[in-house]
C-alpha cells in the first residue's frame, strides 16, 4: 500500500548562506534569510528573500543536488516540482504576468556565472500564482521545456545545473514589501524504471497519492502537486504503476485523473514537454500483479502512456476512458474494452492483445490503431471521427481478421497499408463495415470479405432451386434443398450483386416461382410463394 516519491531535491529550510546548494542572488534582493514556518509541512522554515522597493527585479538561484552535479535530459527529460508562497494573505506586491511578476530561471553549464539560461514568466497578480496569497503555490518545470520567455547564451540540456526564482515587485495592495518563501522541491524522472519516478506499488490507488502529498494533518502535508476534489484527482507529475520488484495490485476505483496542460495562457505554472507527464506500467511477471483502470484520464499534454507489458501480470482497462494524451502502447497483459478519445495512436505491441469492444475516436495521430506487434485479430471495435486520417495502420505482412468492426468512414481511407513487399491478408468477418483502403507501401493486399447469406423461406419439399448471380453470370445454387428454409452462404468481393432466383417443382406440380433480389452485406431473405399448378 504505497505511493512513493523520490528523495527531496532541496528542502529549502535554510537561508542562502546556510544552504550548501545556494548559488547566488539574482539581481539584488534586500534580504535572503528564512521564514519561520514558511514551508510545508508548516512546522518547517522556508528559505526566503525580500524586496523592499517597487518595480524591482530580484531572486535567488540554487544548484540541483551536488551529485550528480548536473542533469543530462537530452534523451529523457526530468521535471522539477516546486512551490513558493508570498507573505502575507492581505497583500499583493507582484507585477502582472505580462511583466513577469513571477519568473523561473533554469541554467546550464557548470560555471557559476554562466550566462546560459532560460526564463519563463509563470505568474503575476493576474494569474493564479499571485492574484491572491494562497499558501504554497505548486508549479512544475520540465528541464527540457520550450516556450521560454527569454534566454541568454546557448542553453545545453546535457548539463542542466541550477534553477532560480525571480520576482518583479509591484506594490499594489497592502503593506509594501515583497516576501517570497521557497518550499521544498523534487526532481522527478519521467521514464519507465527511473529511480526517481513516482511509483505505486502494493495494494494501491490514487487516494494514497493524495494522502502522501496532502498529509493527514499539518505535520505531514508536503505540497499541492496532487489534489482531490470529490472523485477527481489532479496529479501534476508522471508516475509508474509497479516497480518490477514489489508485488503490486493497483486499482483506480473509477476516479477521474487530471494532468495539467502546458504553458496555459492564463496560468503558465506548468511548462512541460510531451515527455513530462508520461505514465508507465512496470508490473512483475506474475499473475498476482494487477492493475485495474475503470476511471477517466484527462491529459493536458500529449504524454505517452506506456502499457507495453506482455508478461503474466494482468491489467484491465474495461470501462476506462483515456482522453488527450499521446500514443498509448499496449501489450498482451492488458485487456478490456476502453474508450480512447482524442489520443495519439493506440499501438498494439503484441498479437495477443485483446481490447476488443473498445471505441477509438477523434484520433490525434495519423492513425487511430496501429498493429505494431504484427498480424492479429480484433473484434467489436468502433472507429469514429478520423477525418483526414486513417482508422488502422498495417505495416507488417501477415493475416489480420477484423470481426464486427465499425468504421464511420470519416477518414481519407479506413485502412492504410505501408508494407513494401509480401502480402497482407485482411479477413473481414461478420458485420464489419466494408472499409476503404490506401496502399501506400506498394506490397500486396488481399481482402477477404465475409460471405453473404441468402435465405429462402417456405420452399415446398422436393423443389429445386436455381440461384444465379446475374451481375457476374455465375450459377450459385442448383439443387434440391433437404430442408426449408434454405440458407446459402455466398462468397463476396465486397460489392452488392443481383440475383435471379427460380424455384420449381414439377412432381406435385407447382408453377415456377421466379424473382430477383440484390444481395447486400446485410444478406437477403426471400419468402418463396409456390402456387399449385394441379
Amino acid at each position: 500500500m504505497t505511493f512513493s516519491l523520490p528523495t527531496v531535491n532541496n528542502t529549502h529550510e535554510n537561508n542562502g548562506a546556510g544552504d550548501p546548494l545556494f548559488a547566488d542572488n539574482i539581481g539584488s534582493p534586500n534580504a535572503v534569510n528564512t521564514k519561520e514556518a514558511g514551508n510545508l509541512p508548516i512546522t518547517k522554515d522556508g528559505s526566503q528573500f525580500t524586496i523592499t522597493a517597487d518595480n524591482q527585479l530580484a531572486g535567488v538561484s540554487y544548484y540541483f543536488q551536488a551529485t550528480p552535479a548536473s542533469y543530462d535530459v537530452s534523451s529523457s527529460t526530468k521535471v522539477l516540482l516546486w512551490h513558493n508562497q508570498f507573505n502575507a494573505p492581505n497583500r499583493i506586491q507582484v507585477a502582472d504576468l505580462a511583466n513577469g511578476g513571477v519568473r523561473f530561471r533554469l541554467y546550464s553549464g557548470t560555471t557559476l556565472f554562466s550566462l546560459a539560461y532560460k526564463d519563463w514568466y509563470i505568474g503575476g497578480n493576474d494569474s493564479p500564482f499571485a492574484e491572491c496569497v494562497k499558501g504554497q503555490v505548486p508549479f512544475v518545470m520540465d528541464l527540457n521545456a520550450g516556450n521560454e520567455t527569454s534566454s541568454a547564451g546557448t542553453f545545453d540540456n546535457t548539463t542542466v545545473t541550477r534553477y532560480g526564482i525571480i520576482v518583479n515587485s509591484d506594490f499594489v495592495v497592502g503593506t509594501q514589501g515583497n516576501i517570497n518563501f521557497q518550499g521544498s522541491n523534487f526532481v522527478l524522472g519521467t521514464d519507465k524504471g527511473d529511480a526517481d519516478i513516482p511509483v505505486f506499488t502494493g495494494t494501491s490507488d490514487f487516494v494514497q497519492a493524495v494522502t502522501l502529498v496532502q498529509g493527514t494533518d499539518y505535520t505531514n502535508k508536503i505540497g499541492n502537486w496532487i489534489r482531490q476534489t470529490g472523485s477527481v484527482v489532479y496529479i501534476d507529475m508522471p508516475f509508474q504503476i509497479g516497480d518490477n520488484a514489489a508485488s503490486t495490485q493497483f486499482n483506480d476505483n473509477g476516479v477521474t485523473v487530471v494532468s495539467p496542460a502546458s504553458n496555459a495562457a492564463a496560468d503558465p505554472r506548468f511548462q512541460l514537454t510531451d515527455q513530462a507527464m508520461r505514465v508507465h506500467l512496470n508490473l512483475l511477471d506474475s499473475a498476482a500483479d494487477t492493475c485495474t483502470m475503470t476511471g477517466t484520464y484527462l491529459w493536458g499534454t500529449r504524454a505517452a502512456f506506456n502499457f507495453d507489458q506482455s508478461n503474466l501480470s494482468e491489467t484491465n482497462l474495461a470501462g476506462a476512458t483515456f482522453r488527450g494524451m499521446g500514443d498509448l502502447t499496449i501489450g498482451s497483459s492488458v485487456s478490456g474494452a476502453a474508450t480512447f478519445d482524442n489520443t495519439g495512436s493506440v499501438k498494439l505491441s503484441n498479437s495477443s492483445v485483446n481490447i476488443n469492444g473498445s471505441t477509438i475516436s477523434n484520433t490525434f495521430a495519423s492513425n487511430a490503431l496501429h498493429f505494431t506487434g504484427g498480424p492479429m485479430n480484433i473484434a467489436n471495435m468502433r472507429f469514429e471521427s478520423y477525418a483526414g486520417k486513417h482508422a488502422i495502420l498495417i505495416d507488417t505482412v501477415g493475416s489480420y481478421t477484423l470481426t464486427d468492426i465499425f468504421f464511420d468512414q470519416s477518414g481519407t481511407a479506413d485502412i492504410e497499408t505501408t508494407h513494401t513487399t509480401g502480402t497482407v491478408t485482411i479477413n473481414l468477418v461478420g458485420t464489419t463495415t466494408t472499409p476503404s483502403f490506401t496502399n501506400t507501401g506498394g506490397g500486396t493486399v488481399v481482402l477477404n470479405f465475409p460471405n453473404r447469406t441468402l435465405t429462402l423461406n417456405g420452399i415446398v419439399a422436393g423443389s429445386r432451386i436455381l440461384v444465379t448471380d446475374t451481375t457476374n453470370t455465375v450459377v450459385l445454387f442448383n439443387e434440391v434443398p433437404s430442408t426449408s428454409p434454405f440458407v446459402g452462404s455466398i462468397a463476396s468481393a465486397g460489392t452488392d450483386v443481383d440475383l435471379s432466383i427460380r424455384v420449381r417443382n414439377g412432381a406435385v406440380p407447382y408453377k415456377t416461382f421466379d424473382t430477383t433480389a440484390t444481395l447486400t452485406s446485410a444478406g437477403v431473405s426471400i419468402n418463396v410463394s409456390q402456387v399449385s399448378d394441379a
Binding site: I42, F86, A88, N90, D126, E131, G230, A266
Partner: protein, 377 residues
C-alpha cells in the same frame, strides 16, 4: 456571453462591532465570542482590495465565534438554499486550529430570534488535520446545505423555515507561530436551487463554461473567488447549482466539450469535510425560451459526485437542446423534454425520465435507480 453570479447576501467587509447584521458571539457550553472585534482586516477579502470582517480566537480549548444575520430569514423547508462562503486565516506561516473533531473550524446556522439564537446547528468543517486548515492556503470554501443532516451539533429546535443567522468559529490550539487565530470570513452567498429563481447562478446569451471564470474575476482587484469555481485547462470544478436560460433572454449555450465536476458531499469523517450537502444542492435546469433561436449544446463530460442531484432538462418547446456525445455521470434523476435530442451516455445516474426526447444512439448504464429510463405516456 453571460454567467451571472447572484448578489452576495453579505460582503463581510465590516468589523464585527460595526457590522449592521451582527447577531452575537458564540454562547454555547465551552464557547465565547471572538476577540478583536473592532477592526476589519485590510485586504483580507476578495477581491483583495476589500477589507474583511476580522475575528480572533486566542484561547486554547475554547470555541470562539460570531454570528451574523441574513438580510431576510431563509425558509428551506420546500426547496433548499446553498450557502457558499469563503474564509481565510492570517498568517501563511502559522497553524492555530485544533482538529476538526475538536471543532477546529466550525460553521453555524441559527434559527429564530435572539442574538445569538438559541437554536442552531454546527458543522465541523476543518481543523489542523483537514484540508481546510492544515496549512494556510487561503481562501477556502465552505459549501453547506441548511438541510444537510451530517451536522456535528444540534442545539435547541432548529427550524429550517426560519433560518436567521450564519456564523464562523475557531477553537484555537497554539501549534506553530504566533499564538492566536486571526480569521477573516469573506463574502457569503445563499443560492437558490429552484428553476427560475432570481438567485440561482445562470447562463444566458451566447455562453459557455469559460464565462464562469470571467464572472468570478480574473485579476486581483476583481476576483471574488477561486475556490468554488475553478478551471484547470478544459476541466472545471464547480460547487453550486446552475440554470441555462432565464425564459426571457436569448440564450445559446455550448459546453464546447469541457469536463465539469462537482465535489462529493462529505462528513467529518472525510479528509475534507467542507462540503455538506443534500441531493438538492447541485441541481441544474434548462429554462430556454419557446424560440428556435434558443439553443443548448452538450458534448462534454459531467460528474456530479456522490450527492446525485436531480437535473431538470424537461423542456418541450421550440428551443433546441442537443446532446452530441455528452457523458453524464452521477446525476440523480434526469428529466428530458421533447426539445432535447441526440446521443449521450448516462452512467451511474438515477432514472432518465424521457418526456418525448429523441435520444437515439444513447447509452444508459449502471443505474442508481431500479430502472434506467421511464418513458412518458
Amino acid at each position: 456571453m453571460t454567467f451571472v453570479i447572484p448578489t452576495a447576501v453579505d460582503l463581510m467587509t465590516d468589523s464585527v462591532n460595526s457590522h449592521p447584521n451582527a447577531r452575537g458571539g458564540f454562547a454555547g457550553v465551552g464557547e465565547g465570542q471572538t476577540s478583536q472585534r473592532g477592526f476589519a482586516k485590510a485586504a483580507g477579502n476578495l477581491p483583495l482590495t476589500l477589507t474583511a470582517t476580522n475575528m480572533t480566537s486566542s484561547n486554547d480549548g475554547q470555541l470562539r465565534g460570531f454570528n451574523f444575520g441574513f438580510p431576510t430569514a431563509i425558509d428551506t423547508s420546500t426547496n433548499t438554499k446553498l450557502i457558499v462562503w469563503t474564509y481565510q486565516f492570517n498568517a501563511p506561516n502559522r497553524v492555530q486550529t485544533d482538529t476538526a473533531a475538536n471543532r477546529g473550524l466550525v460553521f453555524r446556522l441559527g434559527s429564530g430570534t435572539g442574538s445569538p439564537t438559541t437554536s442552531y446547528r454546527t458543522w465541523n468543517i476543518a481543523g489542523n488535520d483537514k484540508v481546510g486548515a492544515s496549512s494556510r492556503e487561503n481562501p477556502k470554501m465552505i459549501i453547506v446545505d441548511p438541510n444537510d443532516l451530517t451536522y456535528d451539533e444540534d442545539i435547541g429546535t432548529y427550524d429550517n423555515t426560519d433560518l436567521q443567522t450564519f456564523g464562523l468559529g475557531v477553537n484555537n490550539l497554539s501549534i506553530t507561530g504566533t499564538g492566536s487565530s486571526n480569521f477573516f470570513p469573506q463574502r457569503i452567498f445563499a443560492f437558490s436551487t429552484v428553476k427560475g429563481a432570481t438567485d440561482i447562478p445562470r447562463f444566458t446569451g451566447a455562453s459557455n463554461w469559460g464565462d464562469m471564470i470571467t464572472a468570478m474575476g480574473t485579476t486581483f482587484d476583481t476576483k471574488i473567488t477561486d475556490e468554488w469555481i475553478k478551471r484547470d485547462g478544459d476541466v472545471f470544478s464547480y460547487a453550486a447549482p446552475f440554470e441555462i436560460g432565464d425564459n426571457a433572454t436569448s440564450t445559446q449555450f455550448n459546453d464546447n466539450g469541457v469536463t465539469v465536476f462537482w465535489p462529493n458531499a462529505t462528513s467529518i469523517t472525510d479528509a475534507d469535510p467542507r462540503v455538506r450537502v443534500t441531493s438538492a444542492a447541485f441541481r441544474a435546469y434548462l429554462n430556454l425560451r419557446d424560440d428556435v433561436a434558443d439553443t443548448a449544446t452538450f458534448s462534454g463530460l459531467y460528474n456530479c459526485g456522490n450527492s446525485t442531484p436531480a437535473w431538470d432538462f424537461n423542456i418541450s418547446n421550440s428551443s433546441v437542446v442537443t446532446f452530441s456525445g455528452a457523458t453524464f455521470n452521477n446525476v440523480g434523476d434526469f428529466t428530458v423534454g421533447s426539445s432535447v435530442s441526440g446521443n449521450a451516455t448516462f452512467d451511474s445516474c438515477g432514472v432518465v425520465y424521457n418526456n418525448n426526447a429523441s435520444l437515439s444512439g444513447s447509452t444508459l448504464k449502471n443505474p442508481n435507480a431500479s430502472h434506467l429510463m421511464r418513458l412518458a405516456a
